[in-house]
Amino acid sequence: MITKNSKEIVAMEAKKEEKKKKTTNKKPGGVVGFIRDFTYGMATHGMARHALKTRSSMEHLFILITMGDMLGIPILPPYYSLRLLPHVVPQITTWKRRMLREKDFVESLY
């Protein structure tokens, strides 16, 4: 199912993430940096992971509501949905994979 193109998108997205990290995540190095990373790992990493997971579930729910007809679930005419399409292109592949997994996809929504 992963076409050459979707691999390309994943790569694009990774690049984008990297760039974002570089610009927004300037952590000081040295001992202070180490302690900061350490406490982050101890205390908040689990929480952040959970939040990220919920966030991505929401993202998938959102794409389902706006672009459900891609999976054959017609929800609303696509005229305005098309406007949203460019913004979710990188997520489409993982979204489809997740939604079409064998287990009941409604279960996976939340």
């Binding site: 193109n5 993202e59 007809d69 609303l76 005419p77 696509p78 005229y79 979710v88 292109v89 990188p90």
Partner: protein
């Protein structure tokens, strides 16, 4: 009240629409009203979004897909090419995707979604009403006369607009929730800022477009909606039903205009039985119209002996409709 009185009394009603079953004279009435208002010195745009648009026929000029074409002083006409509009729109989306992600080609699954979208039946209505928003928001005309697509489409869109509204509300809320998560994650990860949510902005844009387009059809201060009907029982029944439906969606119904009335004076002449019967039938129907719509009938227009085409005949029609000599 007559049609002319109506326009005098409600000068703020700048969006004029004629609705009714197909082939009853919506386009001719639109053209004649545009002609009358233009002669009165107002800048008028008469436009059509029907793929079988007949403004080109009536003005005897090919204006399809050519923007606002000047027909005479103050009078402009426009026929929107819905198909082309959809194609342009899809192309715009493709370009946006390619530039956002630096791609040379749209991924297959995305491309097939874009292609499939144009086959959806509601795509055209949505594109049409979006086109109308574009035309109207410019606001550089005194009057916009909307040669409406058949009733079904308009009703469908109005009901769509309310569904769309509820849908947008829900997903906007979801989006806001997602935003909260983004912020919380950023705090936990000690990132200084989160990216602006482009999707949220798009949703607000969509909300605005839908709001504007349904407002055009339902704003009682600015819009006047006239029904065209002919003196035939079937048409009267259908018109009454349609009027009730429109009223439910708050379309400001302003009156009815009866078209194709055969002159009763003909009965005194030597005419075939067929024509006599038709005149009698119309008399019956006119009685029903009077009982049903009463003072909301703003005018009756006789059957013309030739097709309404060209400015000369449009003027004749306008003179009858507005009971005034125009030069």
């Amino acid at each position: 009240m007559s049609l002319a009185d109506f326009f005098k009394q409600y000068p703020n009603r700048r969006y004029i629409m004629y609705g009714g079953k197909g082939g009853l004279g919506k386009t001719t009435f639109s053209a004649a009203t545009a002609y009358y208002l233009a002669k009165k010195g107002r800048r008028v745009l008469v436009f059509s979004v029907d793929p079988q648009a007949s403004l080109s026929d009536i003005f005897e000029r090919d204006i399809f897909g050519q923007g606002n074409v000047e027909i005479m002083e103050n009078l402009f006409a426009c026929e929107v090419d819905a198909d082309k509009r959809i194609q342009d729109y899809q192309e715009e989306i493709r370009k946006k995707i390619m530039s956002m992600y630096g791609m040379k080609k749209i991924p297959e699954e995305i491309e097939s979604y874009i292609k499939a979208s144009s086959a959806e039946p509601a795509m055209e209505e949505s594109a049409i009403f979006d086109a109308v928003v574009d035309i109207v928001v410019k606001g550089d005309f005194d009057y916009y006369i909307y040669d409406l697509v058949p009733l079904g489409h308009a009703l469908y869109y109005l009901s769509m607009a309310s569904i769309y509204d509820a849908w947008l509300e829900k997903i906007t809320k979801l989006r806001e929730q997602m935003r909260e998560y983004d912020e919380a994650i950023a705090v936990m990860k000690r990132e200084e800022e989160t990216e602006e949510d482009q999707i949220y902005n798009e949703l607000m844009y969509i909300k605005d477009r839908i709001g504007t387009s349904s407002k055009i059809m339902t704003d009682i201060a600015k819009t006047a909606f006239f029904f065209v009907l002919t003196p035939e029982e079937m048409t009267i029944v259908d018109t009454e039903k349609a009027a009730q439906l429109f009223a439910r969606y708050n379309v400001p119904l302003s009156g009815y205009v009866v078209n194709r009335v055969i002159d009763r004076a003909l009965l005194n002449e030597n005419i075939p039985v067929y024509l006599k019967n038709r005149i009698e039938m119309q008399a019956e129907a006119l009685k029903i119209i009077e009982e049903t719509f009463g003072s909301f009938v703003l005018g009756t227009v006789p059957e013309f002996d030739s097709e309404i085409k060209g400015l000369e005949i449009i003027r004749n029609l306008a003179e009858v409709m507005f009971e005034e000599k125009l030069q």
